[in-house]
Structure formats: C-alpha cells, structure tokens
Amino acid sequence: MNPSHLVRDRIDSFPTHTVAGYGVRAGRPQPFGATLVPGGVNFSVFSGQASAVSVVLFRQGEKQPMVEIAIPEEFRIGRVWSITVFGLDYEDLEYGYRVTGPEYPEINDRYDATKVLADPYAQVMSLRPVWGQPSDPDNAYPYRSRLAFDDFDWEDDAPLRIPSHELVIYETHVRGFTRHPSSGVTNPGTYAGLVEKIPYLKELGINAIELLPIFEFDEFGDSRLNQETGELLLNYWGYNTVSFFAPKAGYAATGRFGMQGDELKNLVKKLHKAGIEVILDVVFNHTAEGNEMGPSISFRGLDNSTYYMMTPEGYYYNFSGTGNTFNSNNPVVRDFIVGCLRFWASQYHIDGFRFDLAAIMDRDEHGVPLENPPLLEALAHDPVLRDCVLIAEAWDAGGLYQVGSFPNYRRWSEWNGKFRDTVRKFLKGDEGVLGEFATRMVGSPDLYKHRGARASINFLTCHDGFTLADSVAYNDKHNEANGEDNRDGANDNNAWNSGWEGPTDDPEINKLRARQIRNGLLLLLTSRGIPMILSGDEVGKTQHGNNNAYCHDTELAWFDWTQTETNADLLRFTGNVVKFRAQHPVLHGAHHPNSIDATDCGHPEISWHGVRAWEPDWSPGSRLLGLMWCGHHIENGAADYVYVAANTHWEGHDVQLPPLDDGWHWRRFADTSLDSPSDACEPGAEVAVENPENYWVGPRSVVVMVGYRNA
C-alpha cells in the first residue's frame, strides 16, 4: 500500500459558520447520533415537528451546560437536524438536545424546551456509571449522552455460526451471575466478572448465553421501599430501557471510565473464544419514559406521537403493562429498531436476540395486530442480521398470545410457553397431558410445522416464574418480599411442592424433589428444539418461592456459588446430560422427526412405547411414555439409538425395552431413581444392564438408554 494514497485531510473538515463561539458547518443527516469526524463531532437528530433544536454540551460531571449550540434552520434536511461542531474534546464531553415544539401542538405532542433530552442513538450514557449509586438530586440534567470512539480491537473474532438447532441456551443476568460474595471474581457483578466464569460455562457444556437486558436502564427508575421491611427495591432485571445503543454502565467494572463498551466487547470476544454464542434479551415494546406521569428522557420530547402508540384522547396505550407502548411498526421507529440491532450485531458481534413481549411488535399504531407486520418482516430478511437467531416472547401484556402463530417468515423462533406448561403438568403427574407431552418432546410440530423444530425454544424455567428447584418445592408463589401483598407474579405455575410447601427436613420429600429436578432437566435436554436452561437450575437455585424476583438485587436473586459445591451432584448430572445431547444429533435435529425410517437405520426416527414396547398407552390416566429415537451417530454415521422412558406415575413399572437389531444391546446413560453418580454417567461410558429385555423404571423417574453394538 502506498501511504500517499491515504486520505489525510478532508476539505470539509473546516467550519463555515460560528455559533456560540464554536466553529460549525452543516452536518450530515446520516448516520443519526453523534459521530466523530475529522476535526469535530457530527450531530444528527430527527424530530417530526420541532421548530428549533439545540445541541447542549456539558463538560463531564459539571452541573450546567458549557454551551448551547442552536442548529441553524438552514442546516435542517427534511426533518433531520444536523450540525458538525469543531474543536470538541470527545472524551470530556456530555451532550443532549433541547427541542422546541410547535406553538399550537397536536394533542399527542409532548415538546418541552425546559428539558435536555438524551440522544436515542447515544452509544454511551453517563446516567449512572456505578450500579446502585444514588443520583445527585441537584443534577437537573441526568440523562446525558456521551461519545464512543468505537475502535475496539476484535482481532480475529468471527461469528461462530453454530447451527441454531445445536444450541443449548443458558439464560442469566450479568450482575446476578457473579455479584454474590461467593463468586470469588475480581470485579463482582460485571461483564469482567462474567469473563472469569467462562470456564464454568464451558464445563457445563452450554454453547449460548442469553443475557437479561444490558441496554442502559436505570435501576432507580421505579425504585421503592418495601413498606414492611424497609428494604430498598431496585429494578434489578432492567426491562426498562433508557438508551438502546448504550450498554449498561453499571454492569462494567470500568463504567467510571466510560469504557463499558470495551468491557462488554471483551466479554463477547472471550465467550466466542470458548465457543459460546451471545444472545441479548432486548426490550423494544416500551421505554423507561412511562405514561403521562413519566419522565421526558428522549423520545417523548423528540417526537412523542411517532415513537409511542397514543389513544385519540392523548393517553398512552399500555400493551406492555409498564405505562407506554413503543410504536414499532411506524417507519421511523422501525428503522430505529432495525438500525439498533444491526449495530449490536456488527459492533458488538452479538449472535442473536430474544425479544421481550414480542407480540407487541406486530401491532399497528392503534394496537391492532397486523397480519404482515413490517418490522418483523424487515428483521426476518435483514442482510446484517441474517445469521442471528431471532427469538420472540410471543405474547404481550395486552392479551395477545401468539405461541405457534407469531408472524415468522419461517425465520423466527419462539419461547415455547406450551412446552413449559405441558412438561411441568406432566412432571407433577397431571392426567390427560401424555399426548401433548409427546408432541412437545418432538419439537411441537403442531405449532411449528413449517418452521421446523428449531423454531421451538424449549424451557421449563426462565427468569419469569419459579426456579426449577422452587417448582418442586412450592405449589404457590411467595412474593411477599416484593412488597405488593403477593399480588404480583404469575398464578398458573404448574408447580407441585412434592408434599410440603417450602423447605423440609423430610428425607423422602427432599429425595423426591432432587429426582423431579433431574427428571425435568433430562426431559428438557432430550427434547427436539432448542433447550434453554435458567442459570442456577443446574445447582438447585432457590428464590424461596418468589416467582417474580425483578426487584431484588440481593442474595434472593443472585447466583450462589457455594451451591456448586453443596449441589455438586446436580451440577455434574446437568453437565453430563448437556454433553450427552451434543453427542446424539438425533436429539437436536433441525426438523420434526417422523414415523418413517428416514435415516435408513432400521427403525423410524421416533417411535412410541409403553410398559410394553411398541404399545404406548395414550389413555387419559397414563403417566408413562417411552420414546425411542433412531438417527446417525455423531462420529461414524452408524445407527444411533436413544431410548427415553418417562414415568411420572407414583409407582414404578417394569418396562419392556424396545428390541434392537441383532448384534445390538441397550446400555444405561441415566436413571433418576439412582443415587449420584449413577443418576447420569459420563456420556460414552454408559453402563450395561442386567436384563437386556426389561428395565425397572422407578416411581416418578426418567431413564435414558443408548444402543450399543455387541463387542
């Protein structure tokens, strides 16, 4: 390369005008936001009705602005106000916009020139650089944006492109994962802390991590005191975005230095090195601006009626249950969301997204569900996002429930709430669910016929609801610590306490609970679809029956690392089952299995069995089902047989094993009725069984067998 061909200077890197003592020139409308350009910073912001827009500049940490630069009207192109300001110290700079609205506003306009608004495209926010740090009550302008240099050195990091049907997702919370004093990391509760726990994730065998919201939010946004205990309740989960392009500074050990972006990127880079993809839980259904009473942070003062769904009377539609609803199918808002996700996929190397209350994203501006929602279609076909897994939480707080019917373009996956409900009912021994249980175990073809099994995110637990251990120790939620008289949180938990509500010394009950947890994990991880494990379930995490721990930044919600020792048996069990799944492609196929011998291994891909082989009992009172999978071995392509016997009856049964071809026999991988370490062996070290024809499947137990060729 000849260095003389490098562009050194630009002829537009000099001011043409002076405003408030600063050299400026007409800016570039694209890209939106604040961008470092030679000699200065380019600011660009959209407002549909504004009559005047100023860039308000602060020196970092100072209470009053250092200058306000009114963008000359002639710099406006369309409805985009842009200006390049020269001679700014990008590192020491905070900024916002002051927007003046029309003299006779429409009913849905909310312009307020007394506010300084955050830039919706800001890549850094200086709202709260350290988690839980109280605000300065004298700071009149708390929502300030900052610039990011954005030249992180990714070295040779590249998308992992793990086929989505091979994923095993681990849902966790950045802060909660290492905040507990027992975590032993250098920087507890941070992106950097999570890096130190990557070996643990790798050992567990998962290959994707799904992070609860990491877009900048305000943990004090709706904080309050528990009236009874006096405990400060924060927004711990963070489903309340303040700034969609900015990573949460309080999750970074380096937030005080404004380096949260680099710290998060380093986390992604290190996870990728360990073969783990990163999925972000993103919240585009509403913002932190709340309803009529909420704060003006950004969108409300820029262009309220564009960004929010409004009633004709000027109130906020509330399909999110949190005060407002983002108007996501408006073309401007749609572009904002698509641009935001492209940014995270390209700048942060994110591998996938899980969309909170995604059903909202197919409503029009009046809240009416659309058959062909432009946003969902755009995301499904977006060139930058093409390799990203897109996961919908296919319901909302306005009563739309679209599991199986979410507009999908054969591209979207869904949190399969019906998997959770059915398998949990089956586990606790409900009658009449055996048929649906079978359907859920093979990837829910009734729901995802045209999309394949990969559309189904199978889960028993997620951040919402009971942990797995609590789902076998409590019948009902116990949310008193939330300070809402136990009214909040879901009531339909499909949980069974195994004979006693809450902790007990009864060894029989505790044994049953341990077995039920293993039954659940074993069924989840032998099901077709993409399994998701809730962080902590692998060590028996409890929230003491709280099924809505959104407001607890305490040991109630944090991952307790001492449990990796006290429940080492369960951890070992879970790791073995995760690895077992990886070794048997027939369990994680992309498509739905059918009942013909598609793989030419002598048996159908899936077949159903009962106490007698080939005789499943589908009657309403039946609580035992055998599933035999037949596919190809991962290494040599030979036939691979996996047999799962699930018995949720309170009595054991002598079960006939489906006969294998001559020259083959069954060996036991797992039996949840056995004590550790026989509950699940190391994959590949399966154990020979005494009787090749029959196996005793104990009360409320799951057994998994593997076909072996005779020596």
Binding site: E91, T186, N187, Y191, M259, N266, K269, K270
Partner: protein, 125 residues
Amino acid sequence: MNLRRRMVGPVAVVSLAGGLDSDSAPAVQDKLSKLLAQQPYLLIDFAGVPCVSSAGLRTLLLLYRQGQSLGHQVGVVGMSPEVRNVLDATGFLDFFTVADTVADVVAALEVDAEEELREPVASGS
C-alpha cells in the same frame, strides 16, 4: 506530561510523569510512536502516572498495534492497581508484557531477544 528515556540493555525504557488523558495523549502518542519505529523493545513505565483515561489507554493499544506491524515489542510496568484493573477488565492487558518492575520486564524481553538472535523468526505481517 513529562517523558524520560533511558536504555536498559536492548530495551528502551520511557518513564511517564503526569496524567494520561485526551489532553496529553496525542503528544505522548507522537513521541512514543517515533521511538518505537527505531526500537525493537519499548518499555513504558507508568509509575509516575496517577490516572489514565480511555484516550490514554487507546494510546497504549495504538502503540501495541504499531509494534506488532513492525515486529517490535511493547511492555508496560508500574501500573497502579486501578489502571491495571481497567486494562484487565477490558481485555487490553492480554496484549502487553506486563510486570511490576522494570527489571522483570527487561528480563522477560531479553529472553525473547536472545531467542530471536539464536533463531531468527520471519515476521508474520
């Protein structure tokens, strides 16, 4: 910001004194960049640096990349625990030869130097 330079064996050691932020970083960048072009082993002594901003850290990374393209090595010494933690949390620490004292880093770099003298390795870039 003051820079003092001395040679310890084959290693050019530069001691910084003062804060490294967006004000001082460009000048430091220019000086160290010129030096690194001539010196195969550059060691930056941070003992006299009370605070480093993100712009200061970028200076370090730019030097690392420049050194890499030339086949030259950059070491860092004398960082405060806070600066070290920032570098660690952002993964930048992985790029540098880091030690507590100048002697330690010189020793580490000298071992490399001796190995290179014995068995020259072609530069990858």
